[in-house]
Subunit: 220 residues, 2 copies
């Protein structure tokens, strides 16, 4: 791995473990066993590293939430794909969700990029919900799609920081984030077409099991 | 008004206008035209004032969300009462919602009180939803009441800080918070009994009008 990539990976790991505010460029350099000068050769400052991580975050979200049209949009496999992607970004970039307001307030350029990404994702989410209506998986009154998409986006955006307030002194765990995925499904539950009940139950059960697990399934 | 009460009122107003982090005890004293010494006679420090405001906040919430049993729970007037109370606390104590994580992280005692209050409110909300089921206003599957109550509580808790991220450089307005009330109703909408449609529409319309108003209806 190139030094630049190693710096980004180490920063992400340290931010997630200790919170972005507590980690300095010196910590990151020390963690990698490189000199601060070597780090500064690649990045001007910590904000620069955060922006680089944010670019990965955006790319990941853009790749994962491409709306699928037609019958394929109704496949249970696609639901798993989307919901796993929700979990993945919450977990992999949890430092961002944990401290979003502070991080964005410090960096106007990042904030603009964030809002652009949000608008794009909300648009895609609306297209997806519309498509699931067409495929008779969901039955959302047309005029409610926009506000439902907004509520879903808000739930995902706020989940990590809300859990931190509700469970102080508890480390963010994967189980905690799977509970967020269950809540996302729960927001959609009333709109599921009656004959999709079994599929919904299976999905809910799948994520409830993961939410109840105390372990760390990805990193065992 | 007693000096102590004037200090609390001035602090609340300044916190709401400028954000709690930016306001010092010196600002509060200067704003009231009293000496810092006089302020310190009443409060040891800013945390002391925040705790005092938090006590008002708690008392208000406890008074406003007493569950009502029987037919009375189904009256549209009660819905207005509860939803207005949601708006009122979000507006009146918006500095708290804007910066909850930071404020609570700094003060373990306050955090404990906050969590106790949250547990109490969530319990009351569950009782209320149960009662609205019994009165056939809502039709929530029994096993879904807990998670619905949780989602409602989360929405209200996160609304202000979420709006701040989505709309940077925009002052928190009453219209913005009425939109939060509309979202609360929207979460409940799929559970309304079919014959309660007209009542729900009226409620939604009432708060949508307030959310669309650009003015400041309370303080004109």
């Amino acid at each position: 791995m190139k030094t630049r990539d190693r710096i980004v990976a180490a920063a992400l790991a340290l931010f997630n473990e200790q919170g972005e505010a507590r980690v300095t460029t010196n910590h990151i350099a020390a963690h990698l066993g490189i000199s601060p000068g070597n780090l500064y050769y690649h990045f001007r400052n910590k904000s620069d590293i955060v922006r680089c991580i944010f670019a990965d975050y955006s790319a990941h979200l853009r790749r994962s939430f491409v709306p699928v049209a037609g019958a394929a949009s109704a496949s249970p496999a696609l639901w798993l794909h989307y919901l796993d992607a929700v979990f993945y970004v919450m977990w992999e970039f949890r430092f961002l969700y944990a401290n979003l307001n502070d991080i964005l307030q410090r960096d106007a350029q990042l904030h603009r990029q964030y809002l652009e990404l949000q608008r794009e994702l909300e648009g895609n989410l609306q297209i997806l919900l519309q498509e699931l209506n067409t495929q008779q998986v969901l039955m959302i009154p047309g005029e409610d799609i926009a506000i439902l998409a907004q509520n879903l986006k808000m739930l995902v955006s706020c989940w990590v920081s809300y859990q931190q307030v509700q469970l102080p002194n508890v480390q963010i765990s994967q189980a905690m984030l799977y509970e967020g995925v269950v809540s996302v499904l729960f927001l959609l539950k009333p709109y599921f077409h009656a004959n999709k009940g079994p599929e919904l139950s299976q999905l809910l059960e799948h994520y409830r099991v993961l939410a109840a697990a105390s372990g760390d399934p990805f990193h065992k």
